[in-house]
């Protein structure tokens, strides 16, 4: 099952975590086949937030919310269950200075396809 690991941290604290270490961990995860996507992000001052309300596009400078810890990067991982995902997240180097949110992916592509099949009278039509 896919989990997204969102890495949050206070930016100054991240300076204590060398990029080399993050790259090495990322490489190990990818070698295991457990990392599907991952990136470090530019600092939060480079962020721009886009909202559309009543058809009007509003652009604001900065992240969507001013919080102490900000999004620094992400890993999309493959794990059998939450405990395994937690173990992987715990080894992400910034976890020792920040927080890693672990959230399961919602398989909306699959569920949308399945509901289309049901509506079109798919495998169920014979049994109803």
């Amino acid at each position: 099952m896919k989990y997204l690991c969102l890495v949050y941290s206070e930016e100054e604290l991240l300076e204590a975590v060398p990029d080399r270490e993050c790259v090495a961990y990322d490489a190990a995860l990818r070698a295991d086949g457990r990392c599907l996507a991952s990136e470090a992000l530019q600092p939060v001052h480079t962020a721009t937030t886009v909202r559309v309300r009543d058809g009007r596009v509003s652009i604001t400078d900065g992240p969507f919310a001013e919080t102490k810890e900000q999004l620094a990067g992400f890993y999309m991982i493959e794990a059998d269950d939450l405990d395994e995902a937690i173990q992987i997240a715990a080894k992400i180097p910034p976890a020792r200075v920040g927080s890693v949110e672990v959230r399961p992916v919602r398989p909306i592509r699959e569920t949308v396809v399945a509901s289309r099949l049901r509506e079109a009278g798919g495998p169920s039509s014979a049994g109803v």
């Binding site: 269950d81 939450l82 099949l117 798919g122």
Partner: protein, 426 residues
């Protein structure tokens, strides 16, 4: 064979008695066999007992009712899944995987059932679930309490409890919290969470945080039952320590409240009312836990309770030993509350002035400012020193913070008392 009303009634009672004794264990195993699906397992449990009510009068009580129920429940659940798969193709592979090779109820062996109850407890107490939900889920799934019983015990609304349980099960399903006993590496911390839940349930029953009665025996009973189950399945020192602590506290329950429902403090309790069997059991467990070499906070607290239990009267209490144990506890699990309790013990050993200095130091730091017991301790120590005005102020502060009715009445009585041996100072 003609069935009389008596026979039918006796069989119904037999099924009910099996339900009371076995339903939780059957549930724990069904959850594992049905891929960790709590709701499906509960349906299966219900179906299994329905089948039992139908078949056992005809076929007689099975030699292994638990195994019979597990087989019947599993068989019916797979049937349910296969029927559902006809309407939702994505479920077909689930039914296939769970039903692999199962074409009729097969005899189920008892091995691994002990592990299933542990799996259930650890899953219900998973740290990824909110704290309230862990308690509610454990009481519901492991102890078999109804939502209403849980709600009444914690003075919450039943729909709130129900919602917590629904959300917890949803998280178990959606985040895929695995149905397993943690690995040795994870065990210490995960066990800590389980023990915390059990102790929370016990504390809520032992000294209810609000409301009319001082104790709610139903919760303490459930917590002790859980503690016994855990000790049986996982005889770790801290598990034994927690059970010991609970048994020793419980041994004093009758003495703790007067006939009018008023609090009787430890020093005033009639020790003849203490349950000696619980004390013996608790003390033995505490000793086993302490001799293990891995001494934890629960075992230490149990040891402190055992020192009180051993003392024939309040005056003979070995306060030096208690202070010594608090010294170790303060290193093992430092907290302002532990410091406060140690201060009270120091006051007993060295006099109220020594204890008051420690309590004042805690409050001066800003700790325990809103903890009513800190202020009532301060009040008591000031009272013993003859500092009447300070005592009154402290009791008033405590009264403002206390939520439990009997405690409030005790504090109000203290405030109404003429000062004992008061001087003009303070």
């Amino acid at each position: 064979m003609a069935w009389s009303e008596d026979d039918a009634e006796r069989m119904r009672e037999a099924v009910e008695s099996v339900y009371r004794a076995e339903s939780r264990r059957v549930l724990a195993t069904l959850i594992r066999l049905l891929g960790g699906d709590f709701d499906l397992a509960e349906e299966a449990l219900h179906d299994a007992f329905t089948a039992a009510l139908d078949r056992w009068p005809r076929d007689g009580l099975p030699s292994n009712p638990r195994a019979w129920l597990v087989s019947a429940g599993r068989f019916k659940a797979i049937d349910v899944l296969r029927r559902r798969a006809r309407f939702d193709a994505s479920l077909a592979h689930v039914a296939d995987r769970l039903g692999d090779g199962v074409t009729e109820p097969e005899p189920y062996d008892d091995e691994g059932i002990a592990d299933d109850r542990l799996r259930l407890v650890f899953t219900c107490c998973h740290p990824a679930l909110p704290a309230h939900a862990r308690v509610a889920l454990t009481l519901r799934e492991v102890c078999g309490l109804t939502t209403e019983e849980i709600a009444r015990a914690f003075l919450t609304a039943a729909p709130t409890v129900a919602q917590r349980i629904v959300r917890a099960k949803a998280k178990i399903r959606d985040a895929r919290i695995p149905y397993r006993v943690p690995s040795p590496a994870e065990l210490p911390e995960r066990l800590g969470t389980v023990l915390q839940v059990v102790y929370l349930v016990f504390n809520e029953g032992y000294s209810a945080s609000s409301g009319e009665s001082v104790t709610r025996p139903d919760l303490t009973g459930e917590a002790i039952r859980l503690g016994r189950l855990l000790t049986e399945l996982l005889p770790e020192p801290e598990v034994m320590g927690l059970l010991a602590l609970m048994l020793l506290h419980e041994s004093r329950r009758t003495a703790r409240t007067s006939a009018d429902g008023e609090i009787v403090l430890l020093e005033d309790q009639d020790r003849a009312l203490w349950d000696r069997d619980l004390i013996a059991e608790g003390t033995a467990l505490a000793e086993r836990a302490l001799s293990s070499g891995r001494i934890g906070p629960y075992a230490l607290q149990a040891a402190i309770s055992a020192v009180h239990a051993e003392s024939p009267d309040a005056a003979s209490t070995d306060w030096s030993q208690i202070v010594g144990l608090y010294d170790v506890l303060a290193r093992a699990a430092p907290s302002p509350v532990v410091e406060l309790n140690r201060a009270v013990a120091v006051a007993m050993r060295d006099g109220p002035a020594a204890g008051l200095a420690l309590v004042d130091a805690i409050l001066a730091r800003g700790d325990l400012a809103d903890y009513h017991l800190a202020h009532s301790a301060r009040g008591e120590l000031c009272r013993r020193l003859g500092r009447t005005a300070d005592a009154r102020a402290a009791y008033r502060r405590a009264l403002g913070l206390a939520k439990q009715e009997p405690e409030r009445r005790l504090l109000a009585r203290r405030l109404a008392e003429p000062a004992a041996g008061s001087t003009t100072t303070g």
